[in-house]
């Protein structure tokens, strides 16, 4: 889908400008992606980690780093970029949690105390289910994965989704998400 000149600059364009050193372009990208990912991260960061990690800082730092270093060409599609950034934040959280664990080594005594170690999402649907979900998500085709992430996790409306996934209509976007969710559920049963 072509971006008409009157529409706001595409992330792809901004990304190229940002990587060329355009500070304003980077700010625009951050403004575009930060709020949703912050909110997303707040559900994914272990409750106990909040004592030593500032969610906002983590997300912001990760985005800046990721935006500076990714190969722009692979992320022409808005949805692909958003899914990539979401994954970057997730990796960063996993890394932080692992490091925190190293600081206070888990031993026999601590294994019975999962309290602070799980995120609100894990507390809600269970650690094991979140992991199964993540693994299945990674096995999906990129467009299916993006559809799930954007709609289910990041709350894109269908119009935004249509743009990000390069779908011709809102209906087409809705249908793409529906199918992606169905495939994801089926994929999740594959390891039960």
């Amino acid at each position: 889908m072509d971006d008409s000149p009157s529409e706001p600059a595409s992330s792809f364009e901004l990304l190229q400008r940002a990587q060329a050193g355009d500070r304003a372009a980077l700010d625009t990208l951050l403004a575009r992606h930060l709020p949703r990912l912050r909110r997303w991260a707040s559900g994914r960061l272990p409750v106990g980690a909040r004592d030593f990690v500032d969610t906002d800082d983590v997300v912001q730092e990760t985005l800046i780093r990721a935006l500076r270093h990714i190969d722009t060409f692979d992320y022409r599609r808005e949805g692909a970029l958003q899914a990539y950034l979401r994954q970057a934040v997730r990796n960063r959280i996993v890394d932080l949690v692992r490091r925190a664990g190293r600081r206070a080594p888990a031993d026999e005594l601590t294994t019975g105390v999962p309290d602070q170690a799980s995120s609100p999402l894990e507390q809600s649907i269970g650690v094991e289910a979140v992991e199964r979900y993540e693994r299945a998500l990674q096995r999906l085709k990129p467009k299916d994965r993006e559809a799930v992430i954007l709609r289910v996790e990041l709350g894109y409306d269908y119009a935004e989704l249509g743009q990000a996934l390069q779908k011709p209509s809102v209906q087409a976007a809705r249908k793409a998400v529906t199918r992606a969710i169905a495939r994801l559920a089926r994929e999740m049963t594959n390891e039960r």
Partner: protein, 869 residues
């Protein structure tokens, strides 16, 4: 089933559209297990989507039922932000104003913002509210919502606080029905503690009601929403506030125009508890006027008349809180808490009266000063066990733990209890209760208990249980208090879930002081029952068959125990005197005999008792303890120590250590000496294992860390030893054995300057102890600074000629060995063996005698110690 399966696609579409789905129905209507499995995963995705869309699904400050302006979606004043808070969604509304889920843009966190309706607050009131908000922000209590701040901006008063998810107690009752007295009392106890914290901050809550108390998903009870502004009750807007709720909780003196006070909060607590167990209120009325009139006419419905099957202590506590005359109510929340804590066991006991009748023969006939009900005192261990079972039967504990929390606690810690006696000298008794409870729980095989020496570090802590849990690997914490009045004791104990800071179990016991030990066992068994640990036969009998001693003997014993923990010469001497007194008062007191043996051994170690004297006395004391009670782990440990350190009976010692461990597997007080024994034998790997286990249950003990350091030093892992000693010193910088060890390890690693520095500090800390000076001399010699070493050696030799203080011959030998004067070294080692000096027992592993090992005389020495080369 394929990608086009219409049922699956329909459900997926509903998830995407955020439509409600009846998952149970969907799963039932699926034709085969494969599709059912997919539907189950879809329901997980739906929940995940729900969490992502609405990270705070259930939110605090839900509306008070009937209210004004409900359903309006526009925000009054069209606010999108307020101060540094971005308003996300309105989650509550009432006569006071609105509550918004908001985003604190400064700190980047979600908060609940309560905005007061502008017309409600005059400028003066606004100032008061903001000032109070500041005071509330200082209240730090696990069961009080954390207030972050309060401000007035353009005449609008806002107060922002922690965002809490869960259900209010009003919802709980509406959805699950009224509560039992026990659960009501547990909530009441928690709320009394929470309200007391508010009162201690100099604030009156003013608006305690079930709508303002949340139960989080994890079970934590949180006291929320403070009444804002003292004039609200009499404000002209009173017509608009929720008459179905608030006035029913207002104390009569408030309705009569009086000001809010501690007493009016206590009244509200009373109404809240009344409501929790009945679903109705003591004074009814359709509006402020009717309620006021009902109070004036004295038409209060007594709790007993509304629900007859409640235990009298519960009814008594609630009715007292509801007294029309404020001076007749509890003076403080603490007093109300105490009264409520009597309920926990009482209801169970009352309901178990037939079951307990056959064991009442053991009841006491002594004075009954505290006794509210005769049958409470009749309770015995069996009853206490049944209490827990009963509590589980009614679901109290299960419900309390909440859905997500199926694992009952297994790692516990007993915090030092609070001495509530008038007499501060009763601290030893208070400590003794918690200390012995720790030991009792450690003897239960299903539990891991953090040791008493670690607990002691939390004596004056103001930390929340959840904060302690973040420092130590504990699931739950036991806290309590002891009150002594003459020969009567009142002990309260509470089990607090570490994760949620919520109360899992609580009980109050009233006994004769002489029954203390029986009571300890009873409490331990009750706690085990409450968290579903099954006791083995021997465990149960150890907890129930307690030696009943005379109060004077028990007193002396408990005081002695406290001195023993000091680990210094004076403390141990004092402990010895007290234990001797205890066995004089009660010659059948096995625990006191066993502890006495420990004292003699320690005094011998310190060099203030000759080995001969110590051997005679310690052997007698340990043997007596064992003869009286061969199921007492302490007796076996005492025998083991005597066999090891004084008799050099290695085989016998190990048997006794193992017997003690069999009886009390969780005790670091057994593992730690056993570990030292193993290292002397040269079995350093096993020793290290035991020492690490001991340190796990005693994570804050410098002594345990030091033991690990010593073993690593014996294994020649000097750098690791250094790091263990440093950890020990972090825990207790004045623990001189760790500093001596650190110096030795530095020296062994070739860092002589650092070693000498540490030793100088240690000499100062130990008060110029000769054994420490000897280590410094040895280090000088190893470092090649011979004149210094020789100088110290001459001082030691001069001292050795004198009778006191005693210089251990092996200390002299180590200096000679370091100086390369091997003949003298062997001479002095020979003397050490002759004197049966304890510290020579580690000869086999001690790096300081490495220069002697090739010599045949060394083999002879080891053989004479009973050790193989």
């Amino acid at each position: 089933m394929n990608d086009d399966d219409p049922q699956i696609l329909e459900l997926a579409e509903a998830i995407s559209d955020d439509q409600p789905i009846d998952w149970a129905f969907a799963e039932r209507s699926a034709p085969d297990p494969a599709r059912q499995a997919v539907i189950r995963e879809l329901s997980l995705i739906a929940r995940l989507a729900h969490v992502c869309r609405q990270p705070d699904a259930v939110i605090s400050s839900e509306p008070d039922g009937e209210q004004t302006d409900v359903g309006s979606t526009t925000v009054e004043g069209g606010l999108a932000t307020w101060a540094h808070l971005r308003l996300l969604e309105r989650v509550g509304a009432g006569g006071f104003g609105y509550v918004f889920r908001s985003w604190d843009t400064r700190l980047g966190r979600e908060v609940a913002l309560k905005l007061l309706r502008p017309s409600l607050a005059s400028a003066r009131e606004a100032t008061t509210i903001v000032r109070e908000g500041g005071m509330l922000a200082r209240v730090r209590h696990p069961n009080v919502v954390t207030v972050y701040g309060a401000e007035t901006i353009d005449g609008e008063v806002g107060i922002w606080m922690e965002f809490v998810r869960g259900r209010t107690l009003a919802q709980l009752v509406a959805e699950d029905g009224v509560l039992g007295a026990e659960e009501g009392a547990l909530i009441g106890i928690t709320l009394c503690r929470a309200t007391a914290a508010v009162h201690n901050a100099g604030v009156v809550h003013r608006d305690i009601k079930p709508q303002n108390v949340m139960r989080e998903e994890g079970g934590r009870i949180v006291l929320m929403d403070f009444g804002l502004g003292r004039d609200i009750a009499n404000a002209p807007h009173s017509r608009s506030w929720n008459l179905a709720g608030t006035p029913l909780y207002l104390a009569p003196e408030l309705l009569a125009g009086g000001g809010p006070s501690v007493a009016s909060d206590i009244y509200s607590l009373g109404v809240l508890l009344y409501f929790l167990v009945t679903g109705t209120y003591p004074v009814l009325g359709k509006g402020l006027e009717e309620v006021r009139a009902a109070h004036q006419q004295g038409t209060r419905r007594l709790l007993h008349d509304v629900r007859a099957n409640l235990p009298p202590p519960f009814v008594g506590a609630v009715e007292r809180a509801l007294s029309g005359d404020p001076s007749q109510r509890f003076k403080t929340c603490g007093a109300m808490e105490s009264a409520l804590s009597l309920v926990i066991g009482a209801e169970a006991r009352a309901s178990l009266a037939p079951a307990s009748s056959d064991v009442e023969t053991r009841s006491t006939s002594r004075t009954e000063r505290f006794r509210p009900h005769r049958h409470i005192l009749a309770a015995t261990t069996l009853v206490a066990l049944l209490v827990s079972v009963w509590a589980l039967g009614t679901g109290t504990v299960r419900r309390w733990l909440g859905r997500g929390d199926v694992q009952p606690p297994r790692v516990l810690m007993v915090l030092p209890f609070v001495n509530q006696s008038q007499d501060p000298d009763q601290q030893h008794l208070t400590d003794g209760v918690a200390d012995i409870l720790t030991a009792d729980l450690a003897g239960i095989s299903g539990l891991r208990i953090i040791s008493w020496t670690t607990s002691l570090r939390y004596r004056h802590t103001k930390k929340r249980v959840s904060e302690i849990a973040s420092e130590l690997p504990v699931d739950a914490v036991i806290e309590g208090s002891v009150q002594r009045s003459g020969d009567r004791l009142r002990v309260t104990a509470r089990l607090i879930h570490a994760k949620s800071d919520s109360l899992l179990w609580a009980s109050t016991y009233e006994r004769d002081a002489a029954d203390l030990f029986a009571l300890q066992g009873e409490i331990a068994a009750a706690i085990a029952g409450a968290i579903r640990v099954t006791l083995t036969g021997p465990e149960q009998s150890r907890l129930t068959n307690r030696h009943v001693t005379r109060p004077a003997a028990q007193d002396a014993y408990l005081q002695g125990r406290r001195h023993l923990y000091s680990f210094n010469i004076e403390g141990v001497r004092r402990a010895r005197d007290l234990f001797e007194l205890a066995v004089k008062e009660d010659p059948r007191y096995a625990l006191a005999h066993a502890s006495l043996a420990r004292c003699y051994l320690a005094l011998q170690d310190f060099g203030v008792m000759t080995p001969e004297d110590a051997r005679l006395r310690a052997t007698t004391a340990a043997a007596t303890a064992l003869a009286i009670d061969d199921a007492l782990p302490e007796a076996h440990t005492a025998v083991a120590e005597v066999r090891f350190k004084l008799d050099w009976n290695w085989l016998g010692a190990e048997q006794s250590y193992l017997a003690a461990l069999g009886l009390n597997p969780g005790s670091s007080l057994v593992r730690s000496p056993y570990s030292r024994f193993l290292s002397a034998l040269g079995r350093t790997r096993e020793a290290l294992e035991q020492a690490r286990l001991a340190a796990e249950s005693d994570p804050l003990s410098a002594e345990m860390r030091t033991s690990i350091g010593v073993i690593l030093y014996y294994q020649r892992r000097h750098n690791e030893a250094v790091s263990e000693y440093l950890k020990a010193l972090e825990l207790n910088a004045s623990f001189s054995p760790a500093r001596v060890g650190l110096g030795r390890a530095y020296a062994a690693a070739g860092q002589y300057d650092e070693a000498v520095h540490q030793l100088r500090l240690a000499i100062e800390q130990s008060g110029n102890a000769w054994n420490v000076i000897a280590v410094l001399a040895g280090i000088h010699a190893e470092a090649g600074v011979r004149p210094e070493a020789e100088k110290l050696l001459q001082q030691m030799l001069a001292q050795a000629a004198k009778p006191e203080p005693h210089i251990a011959p092996q200390d002299v030998a180590y200096v000679y060995a370091a100086l390369g004067r091997l003949d003298e070294a062997f001479d002095w080692l020979g003397k050490a063996i002759e004197h049966r000096s304890t510290r020579i027992l580690w000869l086999k592993v001690d790096p300081r005698v490495d220069s002697l090992r090739g010599d045949p005389r060394f083999t002879t020495l080891l053989r004479s110690l009973g050790l193989s080369p």
